[in-house]
Amino acid sequence: MRSNRTGWLLLSPTLIILFVVGFLPFIYVLWVGFHDWNVFSAREGMFWAGINNYRRLVFDNDFLYSLGLTLRFTIVVVASELVVGYLLAQLLTRDFPGKILFRIVHTIPLMIAPLVVGAIWRLLTVPGLGPLPYYFDHWFNIDYNIGRYADQAFITVVLMDLWHWTPFVTLTMLAGLSALPNEPIEAAMVDGANRWQLFRYIKLPMLRPVILTTMFIRIMDALRVVDEVYMLTNGGGPGTSNRFIGIHIFRVVFPKTDYGYGSAMSLLVLYITIVICWMLFTALMHQRSD
């Protein structure tokens, strides 16, 4: 009993902080989401709207477009980062000249704040100033302009995310590969397994918990991407080609000051994120119990 009390006592500061900065704001956003509340509306104040905000969301083409775009982005970047990250991790399990330098340089983007990543890529890509448009034009005669061409902008955003987050995947994969027991691999090699079979039937199953955990973290990050894309594309452009859900919610809540609708939007996106993560978590737990 005494140790229980001491445990709760020691936990209480953390619990209080979590309650104040986590739970209370969540309840407030939940409450606001059931209201119409726009600071510049002709009707001042908050008005009970029931589930109207959520009903509107289902038919809101802008919201659905941004959500779909975000899911597409998430699938593309997470899949790409897992493949590239795994390959780099495999590379780093071997010895080669300059390996330590490569590892350091490769990890640097992880240490940079997302906003700064956006600024760096903007400086690289801004027409008239950045080196990328210049060399694309001079070497390949390609008019590379992410302020004007939606496809180029989306691809650039994906590449930026790959540059920023692949090192994280590489490090987790490397940790996973380093922790793999040698016996099953050696046994398979004795049995004549080739490289693909080693990967497919030995390493991949054993790496699954690591892969799922990494995916779990990266999906959550990709679904809430805002700052680096906002900085690179000047707010999600050109047009609405990079207006991911986080940017869309930002514009609804802040410049448009539509707090009620924006809160409902935030909660629905939170729900979708939780569902996706729960599915992955269930898969992870299932794998562990196996």
């Binding site: 027409p127 004007r148 707010g235």
Partner: protein
């Protein structure tokens, strides 16, 4: 003997004047130190957009005021979006983080509708001991009317910047005899600042070709067309559409409707023609145009990458005079923007306008916890004595007397007569319409402009969809039915 007498008389008069002026100055200084005594040591916080006028306030005026009064001023200069986010949240929640906020002329009506701001006229009437003898609301240009309550006439913000969005052009290019001859040979009329949209487009086309043929990084015009930033919305609706005769964003001010079928003009044929013309200029603009907000447009022009452009006047001074930041020092001309037929008549008759008269003021939120100290600060920056140097450094003028100050007159010649144009023809320009729903409609309409810039939809489609969306948004906000 007579000469000696006259000399002595002159000396006496001169000494009296010097002493008198010193006395007045000492009395003025005494007012600030006495009035501020109860607030010495207090720190007041403000938030504003990072612009040349605001930077001058932070770097020059704030330290002067602190030295004089002991009141510390912390002014946060940030991006335009961040400034509004922070200010509105603070005022809405009533947290009192900010003691003064930047109020752009276009947002004041929204703030007044929400009772966010302190009535400065009433405040100074109630506390006469805080009213500075060197501050007078009557010293300001008529721009101060933008910050008055239309009913009571009371002032809610002290103007700190006002400027026009003007037509800048490169005098070195426009006055080059070879270029003039080549232009006239091609288009059949002399090269001069454009007065019509067709001329403007042809000049842009000519200089783009000229730059290309001569291996120069030169294009025909700037375009403020950041493809996901509100600055492109503003360039079109506040600087381009009015030159075609589409005013107030095409929204009918009587019934708050934007579509033609409901009495608005946002998707009228004229508006569509204006948007198509503006989008067409992208062919003659530097590649950075679709990433250019208000600052980048000025930077492009200053870098010598455009022969002409519509540029916010607050940048005119440094573009024309600062060799460390500008490649076109001494080569900047100023003119009225190109206009459709009848628009100038509308503007002169007061039924329309030819472009954007921008500017802002500092106001005090009701939630400020240091209203007295802040009222002193705002009066300090509203004195006539601080205006001239501020105008020279940041190309903004908010008081009538500033136009005639010798320093400003001297600067005027260097910036192609910008101040004279502002003084004599400023009345032809107008600020944003008095909408209480300004940011809401902008956020609804702007994405269609962005999509048109990106080429996803045509100008006509963009404005048809934008007008319909604006009508729906206005109804949901409770304006119109």
């Amino acid at each position: 003997m007579k000469k000696v007498f006259l000399f002595r008389l002159f000396l006496v008069v001169a000494l009296t004047l010097v002493l008198g002026l010193s006395l007045v100055s000492a009395q003025d200084d005494a007012f600030w130190s006495e009035a501020a005594a109860p607030y010495a040591g207090v720190t007041i916080h403000g938030v504003t957009e990072s612009t040349p006028p605001s930077n001058y306030v932070r770097e020059v005026l704030a330290p002067q005021f602190t030295e004089l009064t002991g009141i510390n001023v912390e002014l946060e200069t940030t991006s335009w979006d961040q400034m509004y986010d922070k200010a509105i949240k603070d005022m809405e929640a009533g947290t009192g983080i900010y003691d003064f906020v930047y109020i752009e002329q276009d947002i004041i009506y929204g703030y007044l509708a929400q009772n966010f701001l302190l009535d400065l006229s009433q405040f100074l009437r109630d506390k006469p001991e805080l009213a500075a003898p060197t501050f007078n609301f009557d010293d300001f240009t008529t721009f101060i009317d933008s910050f008055k309550d239309p009913e009571s006439g009371d002032v809610f913000g002290v103007p700190m910047e006002a400027f026009l969005k003007i037509y800048l052009y490169r005098t070195d290019l426009f006055n080059d005899p070879d270029i003039q001859a080549a232009f006239e040979a091609e288009y059949g009329y002399p090269l001069a600042p454009a007065t019509t949209h067709e001329q403007y487009q042809q000049i842009a086309e000519f200089f783009t070709k000229y730059g290309d043929e001569n291996g120069m990084e030169l294009w025909g015009t700037t375009v403020q067309a950041a493809s996901a930033h509100p600055s492109s919305f503003y360039e079109f609706f506040e600087s381009v559409a009015p030159t075609f005769g589409v005013y107030n964003w095409g929204i009918n001010m009587e019934n708050w409707k934007a579509t033609v079928e409901n009495g608005g003009e946002m998707n009228s044929d004229t508006a569509k023609e204006a948007l198509a013309w503006w989008l067409g200029l992208l062919d003659y603009a530097p590649p950075e145009a679709t990433s250019s907000t208000w600052d980048e447009v000025a930077a492009s022009f200053a870098a010598g990458r455009a022969a002409q452009g519509l540029v916010y006047g607050e940048n005119a001074a440094w573009i024309a005079t600062d060799p460390e930041r500008s490649n076109v020092v001494g080569n900047v001309g100023v003119a009225l923007p190109p206009l459709s037929e009848g628009v100038l008549d509308d503007a002169e008759a007061g039924t329309g306008y030819i472009g954007y008269y921008d500017g802002g003021a500092f106001g005090v939120p009701y939630s400020s916890k240091n209203q007295e100290a802040t009222a002193l600060w705002l009066q300090y920056i509203g004195q006539s004595s601080v205006q001239a140097d501020w105008a020279v450094k940041a190309a903004r003028i908010v008081q009538n007397a500033t136009f005639d100050d010798p320093a400003v007159v001297e600067q005027d010649a260097k910036v192609g007569g910008y101040y004279t144009l502002m003084k004599d023809q400023g009345y032809l320009f107008a600020g944003a319409p008095p909408f209480p729903f300004h940011p809401q409609v902008r956020e609804v309409v702007a994405p269609f402009i962005y999509s048109a810039i990106a080429g996803e939809i045509t100008a006509a489609e963009a404005l048809d969809q934008a007008a319909a969306a604006a009508d729906a948004e206005l109804v949901s906000l409770g304006f119109g039915s």
